[in-house]
C-alpha cells in the first residue's frame, strides 16, 4: 500500500524536468538487464552519461527532489541499447546508386582502410534504425581478403568523431573458402578457383608473417601503412574478425589464429558453427552469427535450422551474438530485435534472445564495460519500449538515451506518415 503510494506520487511528476538532464530517474519500468535478469519494477538512475543506480522499486523510498527529471514508466519496458554488429549501415543511402556507396575499396589486403571516416551521421537510414531501439552499430568495410577496420559508432551524433564509441575495434578478414566444384561448372573454372584458394591462403600467411616481422623490427627503413594497421590486432588490443562459414574452414581458422598468436579472434558468419561447437568453445572463439531471417543453405537442411541455430550455440555454451549482414542489411538493421525474437520459438528464452543483441554483442566487441546491460557504471544508453521490444506487435520505442542524452526518435518516414495522414484526415 505504501509502495503504491510512493509510485503514484512519482507518476504525477512524470517528465518533470529542470532542463539540465544530468540526473534522471527512470521509474517503474520492467527492466530487462541484458544479462538474463529481469526487474519487474525498476528504478534506473542516469547520472551524467552513466548509469548510477539500478534496483527494484520494491520497498523503495526515494527522495525525488534529488533528480532533475523523474519519469514514470509504469507498464513499459526498459532495455539496454541494442547493438548492430558487422554492418554497412551509415555507408550508403540508396543502395543501387553507386554514388552513395562507400563500403568497398579496391585492393586485396587493405587493413589500413577505415570505415569510420565514411560513416555519415546524416545518413537517411540511420534514424529509422534508431527508432526501433538500435543505438549502436559496428560500421564495417567489405571486400577483398582483408577489408579494413571497423569502428563502433553511436546512431546519433553531429559527425563521425562525435558518434564514435570505439575507433578501429578490429580488422576484418574474409577467410578463403575451401573450393567445391559446382554442378555444370567447367572443370577448368573449378581448377582455377581451387588454385586461387591455395594462393589466397598462402598470401594471407605471408602477409601475417611479414606484418609480424615488420612490427618486431624497431628500425624499419620505411613506414608501411598496411603493416602498421595490423599492430593492434597482433598485439591483442583489437579483434580479428574472421568472416567464414564452413566447418572445414573454421577449423582452418582455429589453426591460423593459433599459428600467428592472434589473441582476440572472432568468427563472423559461421553457418556451420552449430556442427563444431565443441571446437569453438575449446578455442574460445566467439561467433557473430548470420542473420536469423535467412534460408537454410542446403536443400536437405531442417527447414527451421537457421531459426534454431542460436539455441544450438547457446546450449553448447558458445559465446555468440546476432547480426544482420546480407541482403539490404542497412535498412534491415531495424529488424534486429525481431530476428532475436524469432529464436524464442526455437529454444532460447526471451532474455537469452535479448542478450544476443546486447550483452553478448558487447562482450564480443570488447565494450561490455560500457554497453550491453543495464548495470551501474555503464553508459546510460537505454531504450524504453511500450511493450516487448522483440515482438513487432509491441516494439514501440518512446524514449531512448545515448550516454545519458535523450535522442530524437523522429525520422523521414514517420514525418511522411504524419503528412499523409493529415492529407487524408486519418487519425
Amino acid at each position: 500500500m505504501k509502495k503504491n503510494y510512493i509510485i503514484g506520487l512519482f507518476s504525477l511528476l512524470a517528465v518533470l524536468s529542470n532542463g539540465q538532464n544530468n540526473h534522471i530517474a527512470l521509474l517503474n519500468a520492467m527492466a530487462h538487464i541484458g544479462n538474463g535478469e529481469v526487474i519487474e519494477s525498476s528504478l534506473v538512475v542516469i547520472k551524467d552519461n552513466k548509469i548510477e543506480v539500478v534496483q527494484s522499486t520494491k520497498g523503495l523510498r526515494l527522495d525525488y527532489k534529488s533528480f532533475d527529471t523523474v519519469i514514470d514508466l509504469a507498464g513499459k519496458h526498459i532495455y539496454p541499447a541494442l547493438i548492430n554488429v558487422n554492418s554497412i549501415l551509415g555507408l550508403h543511402d540508396a543502395e543501387a546508386v553507386r554514388a552513395t556507396q562507400d563500403y568497398g575499396e579496391v585492393g586485396y589486403l587493405n587493413p589500413h582502410i577505415r570505415a569510420l571516416i565514411a560513416y555519415n551521421t546524416d545518413n537517411l537510414i540511420i534514424p529509422t534504425v534508431r527508432s526501433n531501439g538500435i543505438l549502436y552499430t559496428q560500421v564495417t568495410p567489405r571486400g577483398g581478403l582483408i577489408s579494413g577496420s571497423s569502428s563502433i559508432m553511436a546512431l546519433a551524433g553531429w559527425n563521425w568523431e562525435d558518434a564514435v564509441l570505439k575507433a578501429d575495434d578490429g580488422i576484418h578478414l574474409n577467410y578463403p573458402q575451401h573450393v567445391i566444384q559446382r554442378k555444370n561448372e567447367e572443370e577448368s573454372h573449378y581448377k582455377d578457383a581451387a588454385k586461387r584458394y591455395q594462393e589466397d591462403l598462402r598470401n594471407l600467411e605471408t602477409f601475417f608473417t611479414d606484418a609480424i616481422s615488420y612490427i618486431k623490427n624497431p628500425a624499419n627503413p620505411e613506414k608501411n601503412l598496411r603493416y602498421e594497421a595490423m599492430r593492434k590486432v597482433l598485439s591483442g588490443e583489437a579483434n580479428l574478425y574472421v568472416h567464414v562459414e564452413r566447418a572445414r574452414d573454421m577449423l582452418s581458422v582455429i589453426n591460423f589464429v593459433q599459428k600467428f598468436g592472434i589473441s582476440k579472434p572472432v568468427i563472423v558468419g559461421g553457418k556451420d558453427a552449430y556442427i563444431i561447437t565443441r571446437e569453438l568453445k575449446n578455442s574460445k572463439l566467439p561467433v557473430i552469427l548470420n542473420r536469423v531471417n535467412e534460408l537454410p543453405d542446403r536443400t536437405d537442411d531442417d527447414v527451421d535450422l537457421v531459426y534454431r541455430m542460436p539455441y544450438l550455440l547457446q546450449k553448447d555454451s558458445v559465446l555468440f551474438c546476432l547480426q544482420m549482414e546480407g541482403n539490404m542489411e542497412a535498412m534491415n538493421s531495424r529488424n534486429l530485435p525481431f530476428n532475436a525474437g524469432e529464436t524464442v520459438a526455437y529454444g532460447l528464452t526471451k532474455e537469452q534472445a535479448l542478450s544476443t543483441i546486447t550483452l553478448n554483442a558487447a562482450k564480443i566487441l570488447g565494450i561490455s564495460h560500457l554497453l550491453g546491460s543495464i548495470e551501474e557504471g555503464k553508459l546510460a544508453s537505454l531504450v524504453i519500449s511500450e511493450g516487448d521490444i522483440l515482438d513487432m506487435r509491441s516494439n514501440n520505442i518512446t524514449l531512448a538515451y545515448i550516454s545519458g542524452k535523450k535522442i530524437d526518435l523522429t525520422n523521414r518516414q514517420n514525418e511522411l506518415n504524419t503528412k499523409y495522414k493529415n492529407k487524408y484526415g486519418i487519425k
Partner: protein, 1024 residues
C-alpha cells in the same frame, strides 16, 4: 528348292547392280566384287523377337539377301562359320551429332542487348529458329567417331545439329565411314528436331525457358498462318522450313522429366506427337510420363558413384543426388514396366565405351533383355518410320549387324565384328587359338610354370617363378606369341614363339637380359581345371530405395506404385477425408471475430461446421486434432512470389513479353514450397519478373507438395499478368551497356502501354470480325498473336493486371492509361508510394500488395515508408503484404504484424493482409481467405497468437489435407537421415570395391526475385 534359291539370288544381284551405279568416275578399273557372303551356324536375332539357332545369313552389296534356318548356301558364296557365336541387328541411335560441325557460338555484334537477327537472307525474325538447317547437307564421315559407335554395336544414326529451338532436319545414315558419305545416307530428312533452348543465337530473346516455350508456340502458329496465306505474305525461309519439317517425325530434346511434360503439352496443342529425348530421370514421375503416350529416347549416363569418405564433402550432396545415383539405372526398367515405348541413345554419355556396361546394368536393375534389344533396334527404327530398312535382319534390309561371342547382354560378352552396309569392322578375332591351359616354359635359363586362363578372346596369364606367382606380359597375333617377364636372377626374359597345332606347344627363341639367345618352348601340360568354376554367381539383391515425391528432401514414397499418382497419393497415412480441429482459437476473418475454444470440422476438403463442442466423428478415417491453446487461421496467401519456377523468371529482352506463361515452367520440386508450408503459406501467385513494362502471365498455385506441376495449379483461377514500372523496366540499374531497349525513361513506359493496347484492340477487332464473318473462302485469317491475344484478354476483362510500381507519378500514369484505354488495374504490387496516391487508387478500384518495411535499396524507394499498408487500409484500399522473397514468405504473419507497429492496425486487420485481402485481389475470396462454412479448408494451426514473433506453425492444411505437420516433419527428418546414411554406406562399399568415384559437387540454388535475369544478374546491383 536349291535352284529356286539360286535364281532368286541372281535376280536380286542384277537389280542391285543397277541400284549401285555411281556417278563418280573411277580412277582405273573399279573394285566391285559383289561377293555373296554367308554367315553360317550362328545364333541369329533377326529382330528383337526372333531368334534363329544354327542360322544362315546371306549378304551381298551391303544388303541382306536372305536369312533363315537350315538354308542352302550357294557354292560360290564366301562362307564365314560362326559356330557358337551370335548375330544381332546393329543398333540405331536417333539422337546423335555424328559427322556434323560442332556448334559455333556467334559473338554478339555489339556489347549489350541484341534485339534483332543478324542473319543475312529472307529468314524469320529469331535466330533460335534454325528450321533451315539440313543436316544431310552438312554431314561428313568421321572415322574416329564412327569407330566409337560401331565398337559398341551401332550401325546407323540420325544425326542433327544440336542447336536452337527449331533445329531443322536430321539425317539417317550408316556408319560405314570408309565410304563416301553419299553411299551412307539412308534418308536425307529423317526427323525434325526441336528444343526449348535457344542455343547459340546471340539474340537476347528468348532468355528463359518460358520464353523458349512461347517462341516455339508462336512459331507453330505463324507457320500455320503462313501456310494458309501462301503467296499473300512476305516470303519467310524459316517458316517455309518449319512447315516442311512438320511432315517428318519430330524429335524434341527435353533432357528432363518436367521438360518432357512441357513439350508434350505443346505437342498436344499443335497435334504433334513428339519423340522426347529425355534425361534419364523419367522414373521420378513415371505416371505423368506414361500419361503423355509419347515415345522416348533415353540416355544411359547413370551418375558415377560419389566419394563420400569425407563427411563434410558428403554433406554437399542432396538426398536427390544420392537417390538418383542409386535409382538411375532402374529408369529403363520403370519405362518398360509402364509400357512406355523408348529407344536408347548414347547421347550424354561422355565415355561411349561404357554404353553396353550401362545397358547391362539397366538389365540387372530389372529391364528385360528383349526390351533392351528392342530399344536399340526395332523401337528407334519404327519411331522414324525406318523399320523397313534397319533394326532387323530381313531380306533387303541393310546388312547392319554385329557378331558377338556370347549373348550380348551377358556381362562378359564381346563384340567381335560389326558389319555396316556389308562392310566389316573387326574388333577381335572370330576364332583365335584357345591357348588357355597350363604350360611349362622351357629355357636353359630355367623352367617356369605358365598358365593362361580367362576368355578365349581375352586370355589372362600368370607365371610362377620360384613358387611366386607373377604376371606375364604377352601378346598373341594369330599364332605368334610374344612374351616377357621379370626374373630376379637374370633380369627380363623375352621370347617369341610360334604355335604348333598338333602338339599344342609353342616353339621359338628367347633372349636374356645380357643379350644371349636361347631356344625356348612352351609345352602344353594340361587343360584348366574348370570343375571349381562357380556356376553363375548369384547377384546380390539390389535393395533399392523407393522413389519419393517430390524426388528429394522431404519427399515421401507412395504407399503403392502403379496406378495414377493421385490415387496412390490419396492412400497416404496423413490423408484424411475428414478432420476435426478441437478447442482452437479461430481467427475467422469475418469482421473482427476471433472465436475462443471453437471446433472446426472439415469434410472432403471443405469446412462444414464451426461450433463449440462438435462431437468427434466415429469414422475411422477421420482425424481429430486437439488444438487447445493453439490458433487456427486461414492459410497465408502470397500475392507476389517467384518460387517453384524453372530456368528464369524474366523474359525481359523485349518491352512486352505478354506471350510467356509462368504456368508453363512450374517446378513442383522446389524445396521452398515445403519451407513455405512450414510458414503457413497455402497459395502463391507466381509472377513474371519486372524487367519489362508488360511482363508475362502469372500462375496461381496451391502448395500441394508432392504433386506434379499441373496439380499445383489453383483450379479455375482467373488469369493474371505482370506489368512493371520504374527503374527495372527502364533498366536504370543494369549497367551502362543496357541503354538500347525501349523504354529508357518513365516517359517511354507510358507510350509502350498506348502502343501495345492500341494494337491489341485492333487485333481483337480483326479476330472478332473474322470469327463472325461467314464468307470464309478468300478471307485471310489474321495471324494468331499470343502476345496481343493476352493483352486483348485484359481489354475483355478476362485477364487482370498485377503491376510492379513504386513512385506516385507512374502509378498515376498507369491508372490514366487504363481509364483511357478501357481496363482496370487490378493490383499494384510493391506500390511503396501508394500512400501518396491512396485516394486515387481507391477511386480507380485498384488493390495494393506491398512490402511491410522495405526501402532504400534503390533510388525509387527512398520515400517508401512502413506506414504505407496502414494508410492504404485506412483510406479504403484493399491491401495485402507480400514477399517477393523465398525467405520472407516463410514468416508473412510477422510481416503483417509490422503494420500493427507501423500504423496501428488491429491484429485482425493485420492478419487479413496476408489472407483475405490477397484472396480478394486474386478473385478467390469465395473459396479461401476466411474460415467460413462452405469454404475450402486451407488452414494453418499456430502454436501462439499468429501475429506474434513467438508463433510457429504446427500444421498447414490445404484442401483438407495436412501438408505440413511439425511432428511428421520430425519423422521425415529421421527418415531422411536414415536414407542418407544407407546410401552413403552403399557408396562407401562401392568405393571399396574399386569403382571409380567422383568428388561431390554442389548445385547452388537459384532464387528468383523480380529483377533476376538469367546470365546478366551479376551486372545488377539493386534489388526488386
Amino acid at each position: 528348292m536349291k535352284s529356286f534359291a539360286l535364281v532368286w539370288i541372281l535376280c536380286l544381284s542384277l537389280l542391285f547392280r543397277v541400284s549401285a551405279q555411281s556417278t563418280f568416275p573411277s580412277n582405273g578399273a573399279p573394285y566391285n566384287p559383289h561377293t555373296l557372303i554367308a554367315f553360317i551356324n550362328a545364333t541369329i536375332f533377326t529382330d528383337c523377337e526372333t531368334q534363329i539357332n544354327n542360322g544362315v545369313l546371306l549378304i551381298k552389296d551391303g544388303k541382306v539377301m536372305a536369312v533363315g534356318e537350315k538354308m542352302e548356301v550357294p557354292p560360290y558364296a564366301s562362307v564365314i562359320d560362326l559356330k557358337g557365336k551370335y548375330i544381332y541387328p546393329a543398333f540405331i541411335d536417333l539422337y546423335s551429332e555424328y559427322g556434323l560441325p560442332s556448334t559455333k557460338y556467334e559473338k554478339k555484334t555489339q556489347p549489350g542487348p541484341q534485339m534483332e537477327s543478324t542473319l543475312k537472307g529472307a529468314f524469320g525474325w529469331n535466330m533460335a529458329i534454325r528450321s533451315n538447317i539440313e543436316s544431310f547437307k552438312l554431314v561428313e564421315h568421321n572415322s574416329e567417331k564412327a569407330e566409337e559407335l560401331k565398337k559398341i554395336g551401332f550401325g546407323s544414326v540420325v544425326s542433327h545439329s544440336n542447336d536452337g529451338i527449331v533445329r531443322g532436319s536430321g539425317v539417317l545414315l550408316n556408319l560405314n565411314a570408309s565410304k563416301r558419305v553419299n553411299e551412307s545416307i539412308i534418308r536425307d530428312k529423317a526427323a525434325g528436331f526441336y528444343s526449348f533452348s535457344k542455343g547459340s543465337s546471340p539474340q537476347d530473346y528468348p532468355s528463359s525457358l518460358t520464353g523458349g516455350i512461347a517462341l516455339l508456340r508462336q512459331t507453330y502458329y505463324d507457320a500455320q498462318w503462313y501456310k494458309e496465306n501462301k503467296g499473300k505474305t512476305d516470303y519467310n525461309i524459316s517458316l517455309e522450313d518449319v512447315i516442311a519439317l512438320q511432315s517428318l517425325p519430330s524429335i524434341f530434346e527435353s533432357n528432363d522429366k518436367y521438360n518432357s511434360l512441357r513439350a508434350a503439352k505443346v505437342g498436344k496443342e499443335f497435334n504433334i506427337k513428339y519423340i522426347l529425348k529425355g534425361g534419364g530421370n523419367e522414373y521420378q514421375r513415371i505416371s505423368d510420363i506414361r500419361g503423355t503416350s509419347l515415345n522416348y529416347i533415353i540416355p544411359v549416363n547413370f551418375p558415377e558413384p560419389y566419394d563420400v569418405e569425407d563427411p563434410y564433402d558428403a554433406e554437399l550432396l542432396s538426398l536427390a543426388d544420392l537417390k538418383h545415383w542409386e535409382l538411375a539405372p532402374s529408369n529403363p526398367a520403370a519405362l518398360e514396366k509402364n509400357n512406355i515405348p523408348f529407344a536408347f541413345t548414347t547421347a550424354d554419355l561422355k565415355d561411349k565405351s561404357q554404353f553396353l556396361k550401362n545397358i547391362r546394368k539397366a538389365i540387372q536393375y530389372g529391364l528385360s533383355e528383349k526390351m533392351a534389344l528392342k530399344a536399340l533396334t526395332a523401337s528407334p527404327a519404327s519411331f522414324i518410320n525406318a523399320g523397313d530398312k534397319i533394326g532387323a535382319l530381313k531380306k533387303e534390309y541393310y546388312a547392319n549387324f554385329f557378331i558377338s561371342n556370347k549373348p550380348i547382354f551377358q556381362e562378359d560378352a564381346l563384340i567381335l565384328q560389326t558389319w555396316v552396309a556389308g562392310e566389316p569392322n573387326v574388333y577381335s578375332e572370330l576364332d583365335p587359338i584357345d591357348i588357355r591351359g597350363n604350360y611349362l616354359l622351357n629355357m636353359s635359363a630355367g623352367k617356369y610354370k605358365v598358365k593362361f586362363s580367362g576368355e578365349v578372346q581375352k586370355p589372362v596369364s600368370q607365371i610362377t617363378i620360384d613358387t611366386t606367382k607373377r604376371s606375364l606380359n604377352f601378346t598373341i597375333t594369330k599364332t605368334i606369341l610374344n612374351l616377357s617377364f621379370q626374373n630376379d636372377s637374370s633380369g627380363v626374359i623375352r621370347a617369341t614363339l610360334n604355335y604348333n597345332k598338333q602338339t599344342k606347344n609353342f616353339e621359338g627363341r628367347g633372349q636374356l637380359s645380357n643379350g644371349d639367345w636361347q631356344t625356348a618352348s612352351l609345352v602344353f601340360v594340361s587343360a584348366l581345371d574348370t570343375s571349381k568354376k562357380q556356376s553363375a554367381t548369384n547377384k546380390p539383391a539390389l535393395n533399392l530405395g523407393k522413389v519419393i515425391y517430390p524426388f528429394g528432401a522431404y519427399g515421401e514414397a507412395l504407399p503403392e506404385e502403379g496406378g495414377s499418382f493421385k490415387e496412390s497419393w490419396n492412400k497416404f497415412k496423413n490423408r484424411y477425408s475428414a478432420i476435426l480441429i478441437k478447442d482452437a482459437t479461430v481467427w475467422t476473418n469475418s469482421g473482427d471475430t476471433v472465436l475462443k475454444e471453437y471446433d472446426v470440422y472439415i469434410v472432403q476438403g471443405k469446412i462444414v461446421r464451426i461450433a463449440p463442442n462438435i462431437d468427434a466423428p466415429a469414422m475411422a478415417f477421420a482425424k481429430v486434432i486437439d488444438a487447445k491453446g493453439k490458433h487456427l487461421t486461414p492459410g497465408i496467401i502470397d500475392e507476389h512470389s517467384h518460387i517453384a519456377l524453372t530456368a528464369g523468371v524474366n523474359e525481359g529482352a523485349q518491352a512486352s513479353s505478354a506471350e510467356v506463361r509462368m504456368g508453363d515452367v512450374i517446378n513442383p520440386e522446389d524445396i521452398n514450397i515445403y519451407r513455405q508450408l512450414s510458414g503457413g503459406v497455402t497459395t502463391s501467385q507466381l509472377l513474371h519478373g519486372s524487367a519489362n513494362p508488360i511482363g508475362g502471365q502469372s500462375v496461381l498455385i496451391k502448395l500441394r507438395w508432392g504433386h506434379g506441376a499441373e496439380d499445383l495449379k489453383y483450379e479455375n483461377a482467373d488469369g493474371f499478368i505482370k506489368f512493371a514500372l520504374g527503374e527495372n523496366v527502364k533498366q536504370s540499374n543494369w549497367g551502362d551497356l543496357n541503354r538500347v531497349r525501349f523504354p529508357q525513361s518513365r516517359m517511354g513506359v507510358e507510350q509502350v502501354y498506348y502502343d501495345f493496347f492500341t494494337r491489341a484492340r485492333e487485333y481483337d477487332a480483326s479476330m472478332q470480325a473474322f470469327g463472325k464473318s461467314t464468307a470464309r473462302v478468300g478471307v485471310t485469317a489474321p495471324r494468331r498473336d499470343l502476345e496481343l491475344e493476352a493483352l486483348a484478354e485484359i481489354l475483355n476483362k478476362k485477364r487482370f493486371i498485377t503491376c510492379h510500381s513504386y513512385v506516385q507519378s507512374e502509378i498515376n500514369m498507369l491508372m490514366h492509361v487504363a481509364d483511357s484505354v478501357g481496363f482496370k488495374v487490378n493490383t499494384f504490387t510493391h506500390i511503396l508510394e501508394g500512400y501518396k496516391v491512396a485516394d486515387k487508387m481507391k477511386a480507380h478500384g485498384a488493390s495494393a500488395s506491398t512490402f511491410s518495411d522495405w526501402w532504400a535499396y534503390k533510388n525509387e524507394v527512398m520515400e517508401a515508408i512502413p506506414y504505407n499498408a496502414a494508410i492504404l487500409t485506412r483510406v479504403g484500399v484493399n491491401t495485402a503484404i507480400n514477399s517477393d522473397d523465398a525467405e520472407m514468405a516463410r514468416r508473412l504473419n510477422q510481416e503483417a504484424a509490422k503494420s500493427i507497429k507501423y500504423g496501428g492496425l488491429s491484429e485482425t486487420e493485420a492478419l487479413k493482409m496476408v489472407t483475405l485481402n490477397p484472396a480478394k485481389m486474386l478473385h478467390i475470396d469465395d473459396k479461401v481467405g476466411s474460415i467460413r462454412v462452405g469454404k475450402m479448408a486451407d488452414l494453418v494451426l499456430w502454436t501462439d497468437d499468429p501475429l506474434s514473433v513467438y508463433a510457429k506453425v504446427d500444421k498447414t492444411i490445404i484442401d483438407g489435407q495436412i501438408y505440413f505437420d511439425r511432428t511428421e516433419d520430425a519423422k521425415l527428418r529421421e527418415e531422411m537421415k536414415a536414407e542418407r546414411a544407407r546410401l552413403i554406406s552403399k557408396l562407401i562399399l562401392e568405393k571399396k570395391s574399386g569403382t571409380a568415384v567422383v568428388k561431390p559437387q554442389v548445385k547452388p540454388q537459384q532464387l528468383y526475385h523480380c529483377n533476376t535475369l538469367e546470365g546478366v544478374s551479376e551486372t545488377i546491383t539493386g534489388e526488386r
